[in-house]
Each structure stands twice: as C-alpha cells, then as structure tokens.
C-alpha cells in the first residue's frame, strides 16, 4: 500500500489516536488527509469568504449549498473541478466530472436541472490541445445529454499556461422543495445504511491522492485510476434515488466521491454526532479479492449511501428493484461515535470520525511572485493594429472571444423544457421553475488574464463579471459558488496567489452582500518538469432569481432607431485585456473592480429591466465596448453608430475607450422614449451613464469621435470572423 502521509502527519495521527493505526485505518486516514479531501492547505483562507445571507439554507460544508427561492422552492448549487483526470483522459475525465457534480445535487433531494461547464485549454494551434478540447467537450456532452440534464451555459479560455493542465470545472443546479431537503447526515442510531448503484472496484482507487499531486512521470502508474463513466447507470441512479426520497423514509444521503465510503461514513456520522458500523462483506463488488482498505477508499463511480428509517427499508428496496439497480445493505447507524468496519464479524477498523474529518490545517508560506515585478506598470502600445476596424475583426476571431457554438451545439441545452434562454442568446442561461412565473439565471466566469496580473482585483472582477452576466438577463443575484484552480500550494508564490485571490473575491462578495454557498479547491495544477502553474483561476458560478418571466432580457439588438446606452465608467485599464494580449502581450494595469461602482451599475440595470425600459443588454467584459457591441449586432442583425466621445471616461485614447476591460459596465439598448427614464434611474443609483449612439439597419457598426469615423465594421464580416474563430481549428 502506498501511503502519502508525511512522517510528521503520521506522528500527529498517532497522537490523536493514542495508538498505531492498523493497515485498514491507515488507508482510510491517508485518503482523508489528502489535500483533496481535507482542504488542509486552503481551509484557513477559505474561512474569510462570506457565506451568510437571508436566502441561504445550507452553506459550505455539505455536498451542495442550498438557497431559498420563496414559496417553498429551493435551489441546490455547486461547482467542482475534474482537472487532473481530464488532462490524461479528457473524455472519461470530463464525463466523470459531470457525474460527480450531479450526485452532489441529487443527494440534497433536489432534481438536477442544469449543468454549466467552465473550461481552459492551451492554444488550439497545437494538436494535443485540440485533442483535449474536443474530447472534454464530447465527454461532457455524452454524459450530460444521456442523463437528461441540459448543459446551459459556460465559458472557455485559451492560454498556454493550461497546456499541460487543462481546467475542467463543472457546475450543477437542482430544484426542490424546502420541506423535503435531505442532508448528508446520520442522526438516528438504528437507521439502516444502504449502498446503491455501481459496484465497488479497484478502478476507483487513489483518485484523490492523484488529484493532490502534480502530473509527472509518476502518473504512469496512477493511470488506471481514471475511471470510465457510465451515464446510463447514472440516469437510473438519479431516478431511483428521487423515487426513493419521495417516500420520506430516507433520513440522510450522500454521494460517494473523493474518499469513497470512508469519506461518506465519517462525514455523515460526524455531522450527526453518532457512529456507524458496516460489514464490508456485504458490499457488491466488481472484482474478487479486494483488500478491505481498497473497499474503504475506492471511488468507483455512480454510488450513493442511503440512511434509511428501518420501517421504510422494504418500500425503498422495492423501488430499487423496480429500477433493476444493484444495492447492498451494508450496516447501520450506531451511538458509538466511531466508524467501525467489520469483516467476517471481526472489527478491522474503528476510528472516531473526527480524526478523518478534522485534519489539522497547514499554514503555508506565501511570497509575492517574481513574475509580477517584471511587468511594466504602464501599458504601451508597441505594435499597433493596421486600423481599428481590423482590430475588431481580429479580436472577434480570437478563440477566447469567438462564438462558442461548436461547444454548446453538442450539448442538449433544452431537455427538461425549462430553458428559456439558451447559450448564445444572453450572457447567462435562464431556466424557468415549471408551473411558476419564476426563473433562475446562471453563469460561470473568470478572466484568468486579469487574475494572473492581479489575483486580488482579478478575482474581485470575476465575481463582478459573473454577477453582471446574470443581472443583464433581469435576475437578482442571490448566491455564488466558487472553484479554485491553482498550482502547487507548497510553492510560496502559488500560495500568495491563492491568498490574494480569496481576499479579492471576499472583498467583492462582502461589498455586494452576496454569499458564497459552496466551492471546491484544486491544487497542483502544475507541470513539475517546467514548474509552470496554471494562471490563478477561481471560477465563479453565479445564481440569480427572476421573479417575473416577462422581465427576461437577451443580448441581440432588436430594432433600428433605438438608443444605445452605456452604464458605468471606462477607465484607463487595458492591461491584461484581450486587445493587449492580441497586439502587445500581457502586462499593464488590470481593470480594478470596485464594489460600489458595480453595485451602482447593477442596481440601475436591474431596475430599468424590471420596469421594461431595456430592449437588449450585454455585459461589457472581454474585448471591451467594441466587442460587446459587435456581439449585440451580430446576434440581433441590427447595426449601430456610436460616438465614443460621449462615453463616461478618464482618458481619451480611442484604444482604451474601445477595448479597455473596465468593470462595472453594461451596454443596453432602449426605445428612444425610455432613454430619459433610464438616465434618471442611473442618476438615482449613482451610476455613470451616457447615451452614446443609435441602432440602425445599415448592416455596420460605426464608431466615431464626434463627426470623425474611427472604425466601421460590417456585421456580415464580423459574424464570419466570430463564427470561425474556433470552428476553423476543427477538421
């Protein structure tokens, strides 16, 4: 057996336990003390993130967070990474990532209704990156589609830092009733433990310790630990589980993910202050002669652990039989406050759950990275694009900005008949609550070019951008979940990035008064040989509530002769922008997201949408004003003329006005007669605002400074550039 505990940790274990652990116990402790299960490097930092809010029913600490939508409706929401498996087997790695996040939602007794995927790869010019990209997407598509859960939104970035470590983050939301929520807890001694679903095998061993290591030669031996997903089995597990939960005989439920049975048993018994006893001979297995510790730590897919009231057992087993799904009655809840494992009636492990769940945190060293000192503070245009029109066409072709149709067309984004706003129609996806005049909006975001130059403001910005993306559809933001992706935390420079990132994220959440209801940390996204770590990336998944389906707004321009209005001020912040990256490389001052500005603009936009004044709205982010407006024109088919002199601003440089990625900005269109009302709402909210132009049907987007035209782009040509940006790399 390979042990990853350090000798120091092993000593701590002995002290805590007051004796030597036996081999089974050691296996269990080893897996639970891994970075992935224990959060030992991150937990002190994560404590800083605000998690409370009036709608929060369940915050971090359970399988997924849950928020209250009113009228008894709740939404479970969670995001998770599956980076390491995806890097070596993009198809199965991504597929089982989807499988895992679905289970997290399912075990709260909410029906999973939507998936989101947030992806990062190296550049598509390289064959290896194309292989990862195409197979990750196929993996997500095959799994999500088969389970009947629509994949409704996401984002994608391309940057060389993700070449050897692609990032695959997936989020899921589920809908349920407040009174029916079930948690991952055991509370009543005597309740029966039933393991449902896939059989336990060696295929799932050491996935966790694998995710807590960098990818190097060692993964050769680890390789069999990438699992094959079975979405058909998952679909059956979903339906059988929901049917079983509807009997109300299920008192607790947890999915088996990282740490397998060990994790489920220890966390559930710890949360309820009880104990658990199981008999491993009862577990249904894939392979004969598995060692007890293997059974205890295997992470074989598609499994759930049910805590069932004894009087309801038969009824529930009948449901499992109807679905022809395998299960085993493995043990019961006890009052011993110990997790006890038996084999042939002999006790082979007996541990207090706390030793498995409360792993001592590690205080990591942190130091400002050297690379940050290299970048010039001031951005200088060394290489100028031929002309501004050309710059716009070229930015539209950048895969990070270009159309994502190639991706989302492979995802069933409509199954479930809830999808009101599909990918491509607005910044966020909108799904209705069946039978109600309500909907939820969701989107994931992070700009890793910003976060690399400034983890603090970059992540304040990631929060702001994800929230803006749901606000533009007409949703009130209610919560976020976060997924951290960093290099090796033992490297002080990486840990500095992590700390600053969490600080920036917390700053914005506190300022906007939005709680974080869950998250996930993935470290060691780093190529050991070249010690290149991924750009620091905390993906924010934002969730919003729309309380009237009539208020939903999309991004395409709707008619000619409507007003174009910009809300929010444009600063001299072109560092880390797509424009800068395309023409000058990375460097310069990154957009600083400030919560007061965000709040002012968001409130103004939201009230204007809810009053019905806004006909189209789009968040202004990657590529700046020029690209935001271009996308609105491409989508709606109407052109526009805009005078950039009128933009609320701090500088008069046209590059900055068109391409700066300052936060807190929205572009909206409205009927001419509503302009005054919108301006007033903005003023009341203290938001900078200006009427900058008008839509037309001339088939072009024209930017001018006063009377002088500085760029004039054909919609047709822009559409072509934008549509081909990714597509041209396929076949």
């Amino acid at each position: 057996m390979k042990i990853n505990l350090t000798s120091n940790e092993l000593n701590q274990v002995k002290i805590l336990l007051g004796r030597e652990p036996n081999i089974v116990e050691l296996g269990m402790i080893d897996v639970m003390w891994s970075e992935h299960c224990s959060y030992k490097s991150s937990k002190l930092e994560l404590k800083k993130i605000p998690t409370k809010g009036r709608r929060v029913i369940v915050g971090p600490g359970f399988d997924s967070g849950i928020v209250d939508l009113g009228d008894g409706d709740v939404v479970a929401f969670k995001i998770e990474s599956h980076n390491h498996p995806s890097a070596i087997d993009p198809y199965n790695g991504a597929a089982t990532g989807i499988g895992g996040i679905i289970r997290d939602i399912l075990c709260t007794n909410c029906r999973p209704i939507a998936l989101l995927d947030s992806l990062r790869f190296g550049k598509l010019e390289k064959g290896h990156n194309r292989w990862l990209f195409q197979n990750v997407i196929r993996g997500i598509a095959d799994y999500g589609n088969c389970c009947g859960i629509p994949t409704v939104a996401g984002e994608i970035e391309f940057d060389p830092s993700f070449e050897r470590n692609c990032l695959v983050n997936v989020a899921c939301s589920g809908i349920g009733k407040k009174e029916n929520i079930v948690l991952g807890k055991m509370e009543n001694p005597g309740d029966i433990l039933v393991l449902l679903g896939g059989s336990t095998g060696r295929d799932g061993i050491h996935g966790v310790t694998f995710a807590s290591k960098t990818i190097d030669e060692r993964s050769e031996e680890d390789r069999p630990s990438v699992q094959v997903g079975d979405p058909f089995m998952k679909k059956i597990v979903i339906e059988a589980t929901l049917e079983a939960l509807s009997t109300r005989y299920v008192r607790g439920l947890k999915d088996l993910g990282g740490g397998g049975l060990t994790c489920a048993l220890s966390e559930m018994s710890d949360k309820g202050g009880v104990g658990a006893e199981i008999n491993i001979d009862k577990i249904h297995i894939r392979e004969a002669d598995m060692a007890p510790f293997e059974l205890m730590i295997s992470e074989s897919q598609e499994r759930m652990l049910f805590v069932i009231k004894p009087e309801g057992l038969n009824k529930i087993l009948k449901i499992f039989d109807k679905w022809e799904i395998k299960y085993s009655i493995i043990g019961k809840v006890t009052n011993t406050k110990k997790v006890v494992v038996k084999k042939d009636k002999q006790i082979i492990a007996s541990l207090p759950p706390k030793i498995l769940t409360e792993v001592p945190p590690i205080r990591r060293k942190s130091r400002k990275p050297n690379y940050l000192k290299k970048f010039p503070k001031k951005f200088e245009l060394k290489q100028k694009p031929k002309n501004l029109s050309q710059a716009i066409y070229e930015l539209l072709m950048m895969p990070t900005i270009a159309s994502k149709q190639y991706i989302y067309q492979q995802y069933d984004h409509e199954v479930g008949i809830r999808t009101v706003i599909r990918p491509g129609e607005a910044d966020a996806a909108v799904l209705r609550i069946l039978g109600k005049n309500k909907a939820i909006a969701m989107k994931t975001d992070c700009n890793s070019f910003h976060t690399y130059l400034d983890p603090y403001y970059g992540h304040a910005g990631a929060v702001a951008e994800s929230i803006r993306n749901i606000v533009v559809t007409g949703a009130e933001p209610i919560a976020i979940a976060d997924c951290c992706n960093f290099g090796n935390p033992e490297n002080p420079e990486v840990f500095w990035q992590f700390k600053r990132s969490i600080d920036g994220l917390s700053y914005m959440l506190n300022g906007l008064d939005i709680p974080c209801i869950g998250g996930n940390v993935s470290f060691y996204n780093e190529d050991e040989r070249t010690s290149t770590a991924v750009k620091p990336t905390i993906v924010i998944a934002a969730l919003g509530l729309i309380d009237d389906l009539n208020h939903i707004t999309t991004l395409g321009l709707k008619e000619s002769n409507q007003a174009i209005i910009i809300i929010g001020k444009t600063y001299n912040e072109i560092g880390g922008s797509q424009f800068s990256i395309r023409f000058n490389g990375i460097g310069g001052k990154v957009a600083n997201a400030k919560h007061d500005r965000e709040k002012a603009s968001m409130n103004a936009v939201l009230s204007s949408i809810r009053k019905g004044y806004i006909t189209a709205s789009h968040d202004c982010s990657k590529g700046g004003l020029a690209i935001a407006l271009a996308k609105m024109a491409i989508n709606g088919g109407f052109g526009a003329i805009v005078d950039i002199k009128k933009i609320p601003k701090t500088s008069m440089n046209p590059y900055e006005l068109l391409f700066s990625e300052s936060h807190g900005r929205f572009i909206v269109s409205s009927r001419i007669e509503d302009v005054g009302k919108i301006l007033k709402i903005c003023k009341d909210n203290n938001a900078s605002v200006s009427l900058i132009g008008k839509t037309n049907d001339e088939g072009t987007i024209k930017f001018s400074i006063g009377k002088e035209t500085i760029a004039n782009c054909e919609i047709k040509k822009m559409r072509k550039c934008w549509k081909n940006g990714i597509q041209k790399y396929i076949n």
Binding site: N145, C146, G148, F232, T419
Partner: protein, 230 residues
C-alpha cells in the same frame, strides 16, 4: 381519452411530453414504466426521447427488444396512434415498426439546435390537423438521427406518401442537421397510425421557451388527439 408515455430506463424527455399532454392540452396521460405497459388501457401512446439503455449498441436497439414493444405492436395492429420522438423514433425503427435505419450524424457529434421542417404529408396520425407543406420550427437534439434506407425503400416511402416531415432550408446554416437521406426528419408506417420523427415537438409547445415564440409542436399532439377520437 387516455395516453401513455412509455418510460424506458434512460428515457429523459418523458416528463416533458407528460407536461405538455397534461398541463398544456388537458389530456389524461400516464407515465408508464415499460414493464407495466398494457396497450388496452390507452387510446394512444408516445415513446419519448432520451437515451434508452444508454444508446448502447445503437440508439433504440435494446429497448426495441423489450416486452413493452410486443404490447406496443398490438396497439399498432389495432390502428391506435403511436408517436416516437427522437429516441422513440429510433426504437420504432429498430423494432421494425417503421422502415429504415437511423445512424450516426454525418458530423459525428451530437447536435442540438432549432431546425425548420416542412410537413410533407398530413395523412398521418401526427399531422391530421396540419396543412400539407406547412413550415414548422422545432429543435433537434440527437447524435444518431441520419435516416438511411435502401433505394427501393426510399422509393416506397415516396410512393406511399410515408415521408411526413422533411428538413428544409431556412436561408441560414446547414438545414439538414444530420445528413439524412432526402432530408427526412419523420416518417409513418403504411397504415399511417405510427409516426416517428427526430425533432422534439414537446420542446416547441410553449412560446415562453421557444426562441421565436414557436408553439408549432403542439399541433402534432393535437393531431394525435384528434386522430384518436375516431
């Protein structure tokens, strides 16, 4: 009037169809677990979309062999209306109730998008209330939807007016999403009571969730109800 929505393991548009029948059209419709399906309890049946048995082997191939299909064949023989949507269509083809085959899309990937259809014939249980040649908007979502048949099979489909829906050009994009022969999107049997189609009418039955406010799909369900009244 009572309708059955037959649920196989892996069906995933079952609840969607049920919602349209029950909530939109006020029809009594039951979700019926495939093993419990008995044809004489129902006036018409729908095989919903999804991934029955995970699409393993071939989409619809395993469900086609299930006992539920024996029941369904009796229902078909009695002349009752049967509609197969997407995976339901695949099951009908795999069980031999409808001719031909539905193979992997030309593009080798799953395709989810809205398409334009033309009603090639209104002589079928699913189109009795729709004008011939009418244009409908509806989404597709499948990876095995390419309709293939032998030359004489296609000829027979034409001769007997069995082609019910075709993908047609709507000026943008590739209009045929999967490379189907003759742009076939849906067909019926010789007796015209069984119809299968790849697009999803249940996703186009409410303007609130349609990009162009289309509720064209509703007409297909209404046609089935009308047909079953006879």
């Amino acid at each position: 009037m009572r309708a059955a929505v037959i649920q196989f393991p892996g069906s995933n548009c079952d609840y969607d169809v049920l919602y349209v029948l029950n909530k939109q059209l006020g029809i009594k419709a039951d979700l019926v677990w495939h093993r419990y399906f008995r044809h004489n309890n129902y006036d018409f049946a729908i095989l919903p979309g999804g991934f029955s048995y995970g699409d393993y082997l071939r989409a619809g191939a395993i469900a086609a062999q299930s006992p539920a299909m024996r029941e369904l064949k009796e229902m078909v023989n009695e002349g009752k209306a049967v509609l197969g949507i997407c995976n339901g269509f695949q099951i009908l083809v795999e069980s031999g109730i409808l001719p031909g085959a539905l193979l992997m899309n030309d593009c080798l990937t799953f395709v989810c998008k809205w398409v334009t259809l033309q009603v090639s014939s209104n002589k079928s249980s699913a189109t009795t209330l729709i004008q011939k040649d009418k244009i409908l908007r509806m989404p597709v979502a499948h990876s095995e939807g390419r309709y293939v048949n032998e030359k004489h099979g296609i000829k027979e489909l034409y001769e007997n007016e069995q082609i019910i829906f075709k993908y047609v050009c709507n000026s943008t994009d590739d209009f045929n999403p999967n490379g189907s022969m003759e742009n076939i999107a849906g067909i019926c049997n010789l007796e015209r009571n069984v119809v299968g189609l790849m697009p999803h009418p249940e996703r186009a039955s409410e303007s609130a969730i349609s990009p162009q406010c289309s509720n064209d799909g509703l007409m297909i369900f209404e046609s089935m109800i009308e047909y079953s009244k006879k």
